[in-house]
């Protein structure tokens, strides 16, 4: 469904963030992207929807090649890629409802969005999504009145209302407490399953990733170092990705966690 071919990103400073990354994500697969800070995780996610322009290589989203698209065509393709951000990136001074509806901007004209006159179907869907994440009663609150976990739920609704085929998730649990982190990860994975979405989740918490995803990609210096099942993340593998460290405490027993949950 998503295919990256020899994707390269070299920043103006000369830093090579991605070195010819090849990747294939089938329909409905939830995939974690791990690797040390600066290994190119964020860059990889942003090169897919071209918030960062890749230097060379190709990105195919269900057979549409994205890197060569004009601005208008890119806008239409971006609607099919929902994005969830680190630190939520909600518009703080707008209401929860406006934040969720902003996910529909790619579908409605300027005046409708300017006057906040979204189609009834969009409003209904927004309420359904907010209800699904347990925030329907918060619709008219301003986004900056919410707690971290609540904000990220709103962020998830904003991504899902786009009706995407793919979720790009950039460190969704950074700055959340461990319990909320798990709830958010569980919610994302549940929603992906419900809707048959593929997802790429950039995450630093290896144990959390192992708990929820079906496949893990390990990046190191902008190249894929590991590609396999979460169970395959042995101390040796983690050492090749991150460098020497005592990994025994990091790798959780998956059975214990599901019992707690």
């Amino acid at each position: 469904m998503l295919r990256l071919e020899k994707l390269v990103k070299t920043y103006k400073t000369g830093d090579q963030a991605l070195k010819a990354v090849d990747l294939n994500v089938p329909e409905g697969q939830v995939m974690a992207l791990i690797g040390p800070s600066g290994a190119g995780n964020s860059t990889l996610i942003r090169c897919i929807n071209r918030l960062v322009e890749p230097t060379s290589g190709k990105v195919y989203l269900s057979n549409v090649e994205l890197t060569g698209l004009s601005t208008g065509a890119l806008r239409r393709e971006r609607r099919r890629m929902g994005m969830i951000f680190q630190e939520y990136a909600l518009i703080e001074r707008l209401t929860v409802m406006e934040n969720v509806l902003s996910g529909r901007l790619g579908y409605v004209g300027f005046w409708r969005s300017f006057l906040r006159k979204f189609p009834q179907s969009d409003i209904d869907e927004a309420f359904r999504l907010l209800d699904r994440v347990g925030l329907a009663h918060m619709a008219d609150k301003r986004a900056d009145e919410l707690s971290g976990g609540q904000r990220q739920r709103v962020g998830i609704c904003r991504a899902l209302i786009q009706d995407p085929a793919l979720l790009l998730v950039d460190e969704p649990t950074a700055s959340l407490d461990p319990k909320t982190s798990r709830q958010i990860m569980r919610l994302i994975c549940e929603l992906c399953k419900e809707r048959g979405l593929a997802a790429i989740i950039n995450i630093h918490d290896v144990a959390l990733a192992q708990m929820f995803v079906q496949r893990v990609i390990g990046l190191r210096f902008g190249a894929v170092e590991f590609d396999g099942l979460p169970e395959g993340l042995t101390p040796d593998v983690l050492t090749t990705i991150y460098g020497e460290e005592d990994w025994e405490a990091t790798i959780e027993k998956v059975d214990d966690e599901s019992a707690v949950a």
Binding site: A89, I91, E92, S102, L105, G106, S113, F114
Partner: protein, 269 residues
Amino acid sequence: MSDIQSRIGTPWKKPPFVQRAWLRWALLLGFVCYLIAAYLTIDVNWTRVYVGLERGKQFILAFTSPDFTSRSGDIWEGMLESIIMTIASSVVGIAISIPIALGAARNIAPLPVYLLCRSIIAISRALQEIIVAILLVAIFGFGPLAGFLTLSFATIGFLSKLLAEDIESMDRAQAEAIKASGSRWLQWINYGVQPQVMPRLIGLSIYRVDINFRESAILGLVGAGGIGATLNTAFDRYEYDTAAAILLIIILIVMSLEYISGIIRERVQ
């Protein structure tokens, strides 16, 4: 170790800014000489001061008996003209400022647009209001039209610059999130940028209304209409009581604008 023993019990003084003692004293002596020499060059005509003190006294005493009535028609007319000038120039100036501010923010405008908008701002800021007013009075003749155009022009330099700086320091992640949804450029500005800079825009606009009103009182001195013209006439006729009345009204209006802006800024946080 032995060093610390010798330090204990001795006082500590901040090291002097100028290390060499002779240079330190020479600088001090030079400064005193300059002060004396400068004082000696002040040429005061004391008889003129004596006459002037009397006028100054009259002027200040006039505030105890301001005359609102004998020229009330002129005052009312001038004040109305000033207020209309203020409102019209603020509305027009702010409306033009917003697109220029968007163009002058490096994080959303491409380089050529940025340079163009920055040069407009630089020109507007470089030319002082009085100079612009003299030029526009020469072109459009005496009256409030010249004043209105001057103030609109000055508003652009002020508001665009400060608003552009606020846009440049906005949170990138919020704007990025809107862009990622596939929004058009205008939608992106409306959802991703505008909410972030709105409090600043409102605060600056109210402040600019305040400045425009005060400036409108000055511009009358060069013939650009408004209450300044009335004030100038009152001074020319040595009618200090009428001038005092005008100044009191200006102070009152500026104070109430200050009060209103305080309330509004509190509300929009």
